[in-house]
Symmetry: C2
């Protein structure tokens, strides 16, 4: 089991998340997509629209991970400073990407044409490639192991779609969920002992409170299908022995 | 305007967020609550259930902010390691808090009584105080400028409620929103120039795609009500002059 584990960091850029005005949807979206690519999301940082803070987060996470994704701050307005921040982090210039300019000119041909704000979206750190965006013209940007994506979730989704299958990953992390109206505090020994007995597996316990009752979902994860099944069986046996009803797939 | 700006960091602890399984609700909840307290959320980090990663994030954010909040990892199971990580970050021991133990004994008296897992929820870094939790017995924990809260959003909400009005903050950041079916790329000059002309104000531009049309909400923020109104007026005049319809409050 010395297979390489591929990891990614994510930097979410935007005052609107930190102010509570906008509920972030990109963390879950990027996390789920990475799982399918066999890449583990290692850390997320949400930072303000301030260049030095973006630079700090980007440099910390790009060095310790195989991939770094950013969302937000690549639009046409004055508060869109992600390209400048990434260029500063890498010590390269900002240039107009000719292909991005051509894409924007075509996209805006019947929408009033290109202007200074729209041309901002053709700016890239020198040496960057484009990530296609079928939804709104302005492309995402890839440079080195960094992927700059939009902040608007459905545009981010389109860019992730364009990247699907292009990033090297490892064995996907498999998971099974077992749920029930089980207070996690009554089975904490069972969970710990089961995890310890299955070294290639992790068990997460996710309690909830619903319809006036407490319950839990237990998520068992492993990159090995046999190990995963063995751990699930042990946990189900233990829950049954303790007198708990449970539902495969979770509740 | 040399008034002190109070800031907070937030560390969201949990593999379930990084795997995409659970959509985080605590970032927006904590962010909105902090706004009302006159405290600015400066940065969020989402980290895995790994002690050294929690310690790193906590130490980085507690030193540069007035307050640090954590959510997640204070339950009864083996993957709940936040208390140990905070104690390690601070270089103190983990002890059983007698009042927390008494609370848990009362709470579980008619639910099977205390056990080893449940007693884990009475463990605190030495020197900590408790944050009341009316919903599920197990309290939150405060030590120095660090506030450890639950991961389950409605329990977090109860702990925030218990803390309301107890943290020193500054003047709350006021905001007004102006929205319309306006492509932000057509008003990027206006937004930049309006912000530059009102130095105590920030303007955020939040584009969206809805019902097949593009639009934007522009959020103007300031700690000064008069400056805010003046900036809103300038922006509305500019949008009107440019021939755009807009809606106070946003769309």
């Amino acid at each position: 089991m010395s297979e390489k584990i591929y990891t990614a960091g994510l930097v979410v850029i935007g005052d609107e998340i930190l102010s509570g005005r906008t509920h972030d949807k990109n963390i879950a979206q990027v996390a789920s997509w990475l799982q399918v690519q066999g890449i583990r999301l290692d850390e997320v940082r949400v930072v303000a629209d301030v260049q030095e803070r973006i630079v700090e987060a980007v440099n910390a996470l790009r060095e310790r991970n195989d991939y770094l994704f950013t969302t937000g701050g690549i639009g046409p307005t004055h508060d869109d400073i992600t390209v400048d921040a990434i260029a500063a982090a890498l010590g390269v210039s900002v240039v107009i990407h000719p292909e991005a300019r051509a894409i924007l000119e075509r996209y805006y041909a019947d929408k009033g044409g290109i202007n200074e704000g729209r041309l901002r979206m053709a700016r890239v750190p020198e040496g960057a490639e484009l990530i296609p965006n079928k939804k709104s013209g302005a492309p995402g940007i890839q440079i080195g192991n960094i992927y700059l994506m939009a902040g608007v979730p459905h545009i981010t989704a389109g860019m992730l779609d364009a990247l699907t299958g292009t990033l090297e990953g490892g064995a996907p992390l498999l998971s099974e969920t077992i749920g029930g109206w089980i207070p996690e505090s009554e089975v904490s020994d069972l969970l710990r002992e089961t995890e310890q007995a299955h070294e290639n597996c992790q068990i997460g316990s996710y309690p909830f409170f619903r319809d006036g009752k407490v319950g839990s979902n237990f998520v068992i994860r492993s990159t090995d299908a046999d190990d995963l099944q063995s751990c699930v069986d042990t946990l189900c046996d233990g829950l049954g022995t303790s007198g708990f009803d449970f539902t495969p797939g979770g509740i």
